[in-house]
Structure formats: structure tokens, C-alpha cells
Amino acid sequence: MADEKHNHESLNGETLVSIAPAKDTPATKLDLSDVRNKLAGHNGRRYWQSLEELSEEPGFDAMMQREFPRQASEWLDPVSRRGFLKLMSASLALAGLSACTKQPEESIVPYVQQPEELIPGKPIYYASVRPTAFGAQPILVETQMFRPTKVEGNPDHVFGKGSADAYTQASILDLYDPDRLQNVTKVGNTHTWSDFNGEMRDAALGDKSSGGAGIRFLTETVISPTVADQFKNVLKSYPQAKWYQYEAVNRDSARAASRQVFGQYVDAQYQLENADVIVSLDADFLSGGTFPGFLKLASDYAKKRKLEDEKAGMSRMYVVESQMTTTGGKAEHRLPLTASHIEMFASALASSVGAGGGGTLNNPDANNFLKTVAADLQANRGKCVVIPGEQQSPAVHALAAAMNSTLGNVGKTVVYTDTVEIVPTEQVAGLKELVADMNAGKVKLLVVIGGNPVYDAPADLKFLDAYEKVPLRAHITSNVNETSRHSHWNAPLAHYMECWSDARSYDGTVSIQQPTIEPLYGGKGYFELLAVFTEATGTTAYDGVRAYWQAQKKGTDFEAAWKKALHDGFIAGTAFTPKTVTAKSAPASTLQGNSAMEVVFRPDPTIYDGRFNNNGWLQELPKQVTKLTWDNAAMVSPKTAADNKLQDQYVAKINVNGVEIKAPVKVTPGHPDNSITLTLGYGRDFTGRVGTGTGYNAYVARTSTNPNVAFASSVQGTDEKIRLAVTQYQYPIEAGKNEGQTEEGRAMEERAIIREASLDEFRKNPDFANEGLLERESKDVTLYPNWTEDPTKVGMHQWGMAIDLNSCVGCNACVMACVAENNIAVVGKEQVLAGRAMHWIRIDTYFSSNGSFGGDVANPRAFFQPIPCQQCENAPCEPVCPVGATVHSTEGLNDMVYNRCVGTRYCSNNCPYKVRRFNFLLFSDWDTQSLYPLRNPDVTVRSRGVMEKCTYCVQRINAAKIKAEKRDGQLDPNGKPYDGRVREEDNLQTACQQTCPTDAIVFGNVADPNSRVSKIKAQSRNYALLGELNTRPRTTSIAEVRNPNPQLQPKQTETHG
């Protein structure tokens, strides 16, 4: 077979990557030297999506040439062809009858007493928050007939300004998760809350004489002032009891550094809107909710990169990082270093800018990088910022603080404030103390609220052994997990949409957490749980939160202030004020460079620390950079893979901290050599129907002394293969693959997808994005009637979208928002492998390993391009539909009429952007009752055999149009008559645009020259993807401009671009 032949051929080279074998395409193995040789032949910029593509293996090309790459269109089910034909003939015979079937008789069930505020059919929005360890996410919850259906950012809140990250968007699925704990149980028997409360109270009161010396509470990070106050009261009643907070992804490094440097716990708040130079020391602050303060950081970062005013300056970002992240991809200059070397880098950098530290680097490239960064920092004193990574050591945090202080950044680009946790702790140290107490038999009652310490505590603490020594263990949890399996009592914890509470955002602003639905399974929140241990039994959470804030309020009119806080979603004026802190000397670096293979533990980009393990939306969300779904992998660089004989998608045995982890390898461009990144949260022993059987567990090798970095004693490749569901090259946009083109022609064509320039190039030539393209973008070249030129057929709005590649940081929030808004189905790993994932918007990641400002296969630059339906004016999908199921609207939308579609898939075949998704099987879950109320009632839940695609959230457009037409003829506040048009101030936004933290997606009426989208499209950097095909897409991209440092330009001179 071709497979074996390739094997033999590449034996002498470094075998790198193999792709999952599609049935009739040869599996390809790559070798690095071959790729390098091939790249050496290219002078133009090369953009590629995967290492396989880069290899230009004939098998890969052949696969990509097919209508559906891989097996999307093939029959995979275990039904035989014969069985299939039998079924088909039966359904054909019955097909004629389907037209005569009657709709089932349906009922209308009105209220007995209808709530006054309800207008049936109209959503009501409630301002609330989603609490996380890194502060509250201010949100608006859309409810349809009092059922929450969608979460959006709160546009009035200063933090986030209406945006939300992917976790927040997906958190609503957790509410309706059918696997939630639904009863109070004691060792498997169903009980009532009063049984539970009674036993807790008895146990606590029994220990009252000793001051509660045997009582321990273990919670997740608490950011609610009311709950923290309540804990204070509990500890007042039981002075010997103890309260610990623990989350596996915590801020221990930052806290330890803060304690050592400032003598107190403070949060660093980075003000990127003031920063011209950003240096990230392994801080992945642009990739989403895994970094504290992500929403504001991303939005401020993007503000300095918009270039809407062509004269405006741009910030410059240097990233030193231990894995390929979106932050590194966006950086002007990126240096991959192993996590332990980053501390050395930080130390050397600090000494270069005169902020303590010391030491030098052996690597000349790194040294050169360091010198340039140091010089740029020195040149931008007070306008630069150094950000340490959360998973870096306390020393790096301390050095970063020292550098920011020496460079005069404090008060300008970084301010220090109180911590967002009400009671900041170093969590691993706390957990250690708890485990010691449990082992010593001191603990008689342990109440665990939320979390899952049996699964995610550092392995060396042997938490489970200690836990089982506690005579009475209660776990209040949303889902049954490893910890609840080993607890006596299990009780349902209320989802954040089910209970009253309050929470601080990362900037300190307090919001009230308003419930939007009665607890589905009788769950209780923190407040009501703790009320058992205080004298205040029977107080509702609402009364408790209200009473707490009434006590805080200085003025008189509390009622009005309370109502305003609930309405606005925050209490004005509660943001932290910057603190003046004085730095003591930074602690000396403790970690020495180690030549052993490094293993880095990171929160997973989609399922975080494992809490989203049973969330199908997040499981199926392609992880940034790797585009991996449904699994975690061991990420290694191409060179490390070759050196250790590891193959892509084959299991590697990694011996680390005395444990063997078997993890499938994912060869990742840009990963530092001699390092393996493992992500947390998978390989669960006990989880729900979605997460069971996914990935491997990395927690087993994590230790309490250094939870984020370890060194492997051995790494071994195996022959065991795990097919990873990677979506990276499943929807390739074909360009420039025409045979017989010259190298220059190809480079030019490939430039058409991603267009970029350096800031200098852009200043010299503002039209770079559209220059030199083949003159095929002409309106006259069309076979089809030009519908826009017939005035009777043109609507008053013309919808269009612009996506700014400069602002997009690839955080995936838009993908999740689209899933939530448009009832997009989850298909599962097998179907993703077959190329059948249903996401209507995807983020294409391109790497560039050549070009006028650097990049190499080992350290490529990355580009993130969100691709929704491009709504072509000359849509190639439309004329090929035999039943007219996809047709153009008068407002420029490429409508998809699901009830007309017969599933020929011709349209998808003809779509050059590959944005159409075919519902091959019955992907929507029609059986699980608990998921019914989740769905958006304004969007069809598609069935099998139907093509689906983005229509710019047409349900939102129609709602806005109806609103606009209803006020037709009335006068606006300025005395001008409304004319039935949707105006800019109506704030019509698509779901992806609404949630985007960087405002990269702008949607609106392109027929109005004053609309924001028209102004953005008028920029010289605006270009149409594959415009040379004359599809005239309504979605256009704004070309990327970066601001590289001339000192770090590659030596060779480039002529292209």
C-alpha cells in the first residue's frame, strides 16, 4: 500500500506527522527536512493551515480536491449497503405520502394569571453576572417566556462592554445539562434538603463546644462579597472551623509574588490602551477566559491596532511563550522558549533594563531577541508593559513587577488594586494544610461546595486517601463527579442562573447575580447552603444579598439604588481604586535550566480545568491553534517529535513525576523544542454522557510543589493510534493550486486569502491589500442577471459585514455565540472526524513561515480569519440548487430555506468558501427533554438531510426591521421622522459581532454611507476573499498590518508582497 511505501521512503528522514487515513486517500507522512527544502524554494510569503498542506504531498492535494475532504459524504454507518437499499426503497414508497400527512394537532396553554411584564413572543433581558475565579462576567440573559435561552455581555457595564468569552456563551448549556445532579442523596439513597440540613446542623452543633475544630469548608474561589461576609459569620460561630478555597487553575504564582514583592495580595490590572510596547512572558492573555481580565485586555489591545485613522500609531507586541497560543500568533515578534527558560529570560531581561535579575542566555537568537526587547522597553518608558503568565513561577511575576516599576509603568500601563477574590489565598498551600488535617484525623465534617478536588488536586497530596478518612463528607455539586462519588452526601448546587448572589468583576465593579429561572432540580446556592451554619437559618439568598448591600449603602434611598443596580447590572462606583504599593526586592530565581524534556500543564482552551467536560458545545469547539476537538493531546514541536520518534496522532508514553501518561501526540508548529504541553480537564473517571471517554488525565502527574512545570524522565512513541478530530484542514479554501502556475503567480494567488503588510509598507502603500491583483473583480463579468441593478428588486437595507483581521485574536467567542443563537447541533467526535461539524462560523488559522518580517516552520506567525457565510452577491450556490432552496433576498442575504431543501448538496460543492454545513444525520437532539427550553424559538431546529448556513442572524434582522417599520412616520428625539429604516442607533448586531471582545466583526447596512460598516469597508485595507472569482461577497476582510521592529527583521531581502 501507498502507506507503507511512504513509511519506507521517510525512514531516513525525520518522520513527523501522519494524517488520519481517509478511506481512499493514501496516508501521508511528513518529514521536516523535506518541508524545509520545499520552503527554501519559495521566496514569496507562504500561508498554510497545517504541516500536511505544507508538505505538498500528492495524497493530501488529492484529498483536498474532493467535494468534501475526508469522508464527509461517505456512508459510514454500520448498516450494510443491502440494508440501506431496503430502507431506501421503503422510504421511497412512503415518500409520496409525506405530502399528505397532516400536521399534528397542537395545543395552546395560556397562563392562569399572566405575569404583567411578559409579552408572549418577545424576549425579556435580565442583567446578571457569571461568576468565575477571575472575576464576574457581566451578562444579559435573554429569556423567552422566562426560560433563559442566550447569554450576552452587558453593554452598559464598563468591563467587557457587551462582549463575552466562549465559556460564558457556552455556560447556558450547563444549566440544561441532562446529567446534572437532580436529588439530594446520602450514599445513593434519595433524601430531602431538610434531611441534609438537619444532619449538617447536628454535626456542626455537636462540634460547637470545641469551636467547630472538626469542621472544614472547601469551596471554589469566592468572588461574592455577601458569601465572603457570610463565611466570616460562620467562622465567628465556629472560630476553630476553617475555610479553604481551591481551584486547579489558580493564581498561586501571582499571589506568592505579590506577597513577596509588595507584602500584600494585590491584582495587577494592565491598561493596554496606554501601552505602545507589550511584552508577554508566557502570558496568553488574548486566548479567552483562561486569563484574568481577558475581555478588557483583548478590547484594549485591539483599540491600539484598528488603524481606522491611518495616521494613528500601533502598539507592538513581543511574546515569549512555552506553547503556540493566539497571543503568540498575534505578536509582532515571538520567541518560543520552554517554560523553565522563560524564567531565565525574564531574569536576563530584568537585568538588561536595570530591574534586578541577572544571568544571560546561551541561545544567540534568544539573546538577540532579548536585547531588542530591552532596547524597545527602555525607549518606551511609561508606555510599555510586561505581563507575566499565570502558569509561570512566582519569580517571573516578581521580575515583571520589578520591570514595570523600573520602567515607570506603574500608574500608567499597570495599576495595582485589591484582589478580585474577597479573601485571597495561596490555594495549593491551603489544600496541603487541609490534607494534613484530614490525615491527622482532625476533620470530622468536610463540606465541599462546587469543585472536584478528588480529580484535580495535585497528585502528590493523595487527596482521596485523606478525604476518605473524614467521617462525614458532603459535596454540593452541579454534576456528579469523582468527588461526589466519594462523599456521603451529595446535593445539587444551583447554576448561577438559578440563585441570587453578587460578584465582583476583575476591575472590582460589583454586580448582583439575578436568577432567571427557578432551580430546575431544587439546587441551592452558596448563601442558602451556608445559612445552615449561621444563626440566620431561613433567610433567602435574595434577602441576604439585599441586606448585605443595604448595610453597605451610605445614602438613604436604598430602594432606588437597589433597583438601579439590578436594572443596570452593576453598582456604579464600586470599581477598585488603584493602590500605591511599594516593591521590595524581587526574590532570586529558583528554577535552574534543565536539559530534560519539559512537561507543561495548562488549562484546556475549551474545557478549562475539567468543569466543562460534559459541555458538548465546548467539547466540539475547535481549540485555538491546534483546532482539536473532543480530546486533549500532547503538543510537541516538529523537531521534538522527530528527535523522539513521536508521530502525530500516535500515543506517546510520557514518564513524569513517577507516573506514565499515555497521550496522543499533536505536532504543533511554533511549539518550543524539548517541551511537551499537556492540557487539563480530560480523562475523567466519572462524568456525564458527553465527556465520558474523552482524552487522558494530566492531573495524575501534577505535583503541589510545581503544578505547572515538570520534567519527564522518558518519552516514548508507540504504535497505538488515536484518531484526533482536528478541523484545521477540513474546510480548505482553494486558491492558487492551479497547475502550471509560476511561483510568483502562486504567491500572488495565495496572498488573496490573507493579505498583510508591515506598518511601514502600509504607510508607503495604503492600497497594498488590493494592489496587483488580477483585474477580474469586475461587476460586468457575470452569467447571471445582476439583481442589484434592478431598482424594483433592491430592498432599503443592504446587509454587509467587515471582519478586521488586525483585531481578531482567534478567541472562539464568536463560534460559541453562533452555536447558542442558531441552535447549532453537536455532532460528536466520529462525525467531526468525518468532516461533519456544524459550526456556521469557523476561525481559519493560517501560519506563515516566510515573509518580509520573519517566521519559520519552527516559529511561524499565525493569522486568524473568522469565516461565516460570505453572502456573495453572485452566489455560486444559488444557481445550482434544483429546488430553489437557497435564493437571494432583496437585502443581499443569501437565504437558506430549510423546508425546501432536499439535500442534493450541490450548493456546498459549489461554494468556494466552504461555509455550508450539511445535516447528514439527525444531529439535533430531539429526545432530551431538558434541552427543549434552551433553543432559540426564532430559529428553526433543523432536521436531517438539510443544508444549513449563516444568514447574518436573519431572525435578529427581521426583529429589528419590524421594530423600525412600526415606528414609521413617528418623530425621533431629534424631531426627524423615522422612515421605516433600521438605523445605526438601533444597535442591530449579529450574535458573533455582539460577543466579540475586540470588535473585530462589524455588521450593518452598507447602503447607508454613514453606517459604521460602510466606513470600515471604505478603508483601503478592505478586500474581498477570493474576489477574483467575482462572487462579490458582502462579508469582506480588513487586511492585517503589523508593526515589526526593524532590528529583528530577517537578514534576507524580500521582494514580494
Binding site: G96, A99, C100, K102, Q103, E105, E106, S107, I108, V109, P110, Y111, V112, Q113, Q114, I119, P120, G121, K122, T792, K793, G795, V887, S889, T890, E891, L893, D895, V897, Y898, N899, D938, V939, T940, T951, V954, Q955, I957, N958, I962, E965, K966, D968, G969, D979, G980
Partner: protein, 232 residues
């Protein structure tokens, strides 16, 4: 040997071809008629309801406005079915012992909703909005027929796409001034009975319709039949 087929076989063959054509057409016609028949569309059918509510009595007899019960018809896509409380507002005073109203009283007492059978039921992939039709001058009667004369509610039209498009293609034949939308006794203008709109008297529905189209900025038939008007 005599021929296997007698000469008359030709006739049989021809006849059977014709018969086949007729049979297939008849089958097709039957299927078409069947799918637009009241058996499928439920046009004109009065389903059994928990209470035999009479629009005739409440609307023509008592003169209650549509919006008294269907409160959200002007503000939402869904017109709203009155909660039991609305019934009880009056029926706690009058007909308090009528056996017919027992389910209503039971519903109110037990806090259990009445379960009505839907009369006008569009397929789930159709997104119809009452509010825009009301605000653009389509009277209740245009779709619901003589609802004020129905002792038991039934659907007056098929509500099939063909019927919807008939008006969307040419709205002027059904438009009326906004003030007349809920007027059950409104008559389209005729030579003897003009309708006043914009201070002008109209004697002809087409002229009135055109004037309303202009005044209310009603979109062209081409635009109103674009698919995403109703399907998404």
C-alpha cells in the same frame, strides 16, 4: 399457428396507455386536492375545546374589542391567548354557576392552565408576526374571516403558503386604514360607500390600497415574497 395476440390487442394496448395517463393524472390531481383539502389544512373545522367559547357572543353580542383578550397582538408576533384570569374578571360576576364554565373556574381554583386546541396553526418553519400585519393595515378579518360571527372558532382559510403569497404579492387588495384594523364591521370601499383616508374619499379598493401602500411604506410584492420574510 394463430397469432398469439389477436388484432384487438392493439386496441387494448392503446386504451391501456391512455388509461394509464388518465390514472396517473387523476392520482396526481387527487394528491394535490387532498393536500389542500380541509382534511389536511383543517380549514373550516371546529375542533373540540375545553369550553365552547363563542367569539360571536363576545364580539358581536357584547362588543368586546379583540385586544381585550389578545393583548399582545399589536406588540408581538404572537397575539396572546387570554389567561384564565381574564375570563374570571367577568365570570366571577356573571354566569358564575354556568355548568359550561366549570373548566374555567376549575382552572382558576386549581391554578392549572386550560388546554385549548390550536385552530390557526402554522408549521414550525414559518415565522409569522401579528404585530407587523396589524401595524401595516391588515384587518383581523382578512385572515381570520368573520370571526365575529363564529359561535365556535374555525379557520376560514387554508393558511397554506399559496394563500399567504396571494396577498404578499399584491397587498393592496387587503389594506385598510390602521384605525379600522380591529373594526369587525368595516367594509371595503365601494361606489356607494366610500372610505376616508388621508382626508380623501376613496370609492375603490385598488386606489385606496395604493394610497395606503404609499403612506405606510409597504414594500413591493417582490420584496415581501423574499424567502426570509417568513422562513429562517
Amino acid at each position: 399457428m394463430p397469432p398469439f395476440f389477436p388484432p384487438s390487442a392493439n386496441n387494448y394496448a392503446r386504451t391501456s396507455i391512455i388509461f394509464l395517463i388518465v390514472a396517473i393524472s387523476a392520482l396526481g390531481l387527487t394528491a394535490y386536492k387532498l393536500q389542500s383539502s380541509p382534511w389536511v389544512t383543517r380549514e373550516g373545522i371546529r375542533p373540540e375545546q375545553p369550553v365552547p367559547f363563542s367569539h360571536q357572543h363576545h364580539v358581536s353580542g357584547l362588543g368586546i374589542d379583540c385586544r381585550f383578550c389578545h393583548t399582545s397582538v399589536e406588540t408581538s408576533g404572537f397575539a396572546g391567548i387570554p389567561p384564565t384570569k381574564t375570563c374570571m374578571n367577568c365570570h366571577s360576576m356573571i354566569w358564575t354557576n354556568a355548568p359550561l364554565l366549570e373548566p374555567v373556574r376549575a382552572s382558576f381554583k386549581d391554578d392549572k392552565s386550560l388546554v385549548w386546541t390550536r385552530v390557526h396553526d402554522l408549521p414550525d418553519y414559518v415565522y409569522f408576526s401579528h404585530e407587523i400585519h396589524i401595524n401595516k393595515g391588515i384587518g383581523c378579518k382578512s385572515c381570520h374571516g368573520p370571526i365575529d360571527e363564529m359561535p365556535l372558532t374555525y379557520m376560514n382559510v387554508s393558511l397554506q403558503m399559496e394563500w399567504c403569497l396571494d396577498c404578499h404579492r399584491d397587498t393592496k387588495k387587503n389594506l385598510r386604514p390602521r384605525e379600522e384594523v380591529f373594526n369587525m364591521t368595516y367594509k371595503q370601499p365601494s361606489r356607494w360607500d366610500p372610505v376616508v383616508f388621508n382626508g380623501k374619499k376613496f370609492f375603490d379598493q385598488d386606489l385606496l390600497g395604493e394610497e395606503i401602500q404609499k403612506t405606510y411604506h409597504i414594500k413591493s410584492g417582490y420584496e415581501l415574497t423574499t424567502c426570509d420574510t417568513c422562513h429562517r
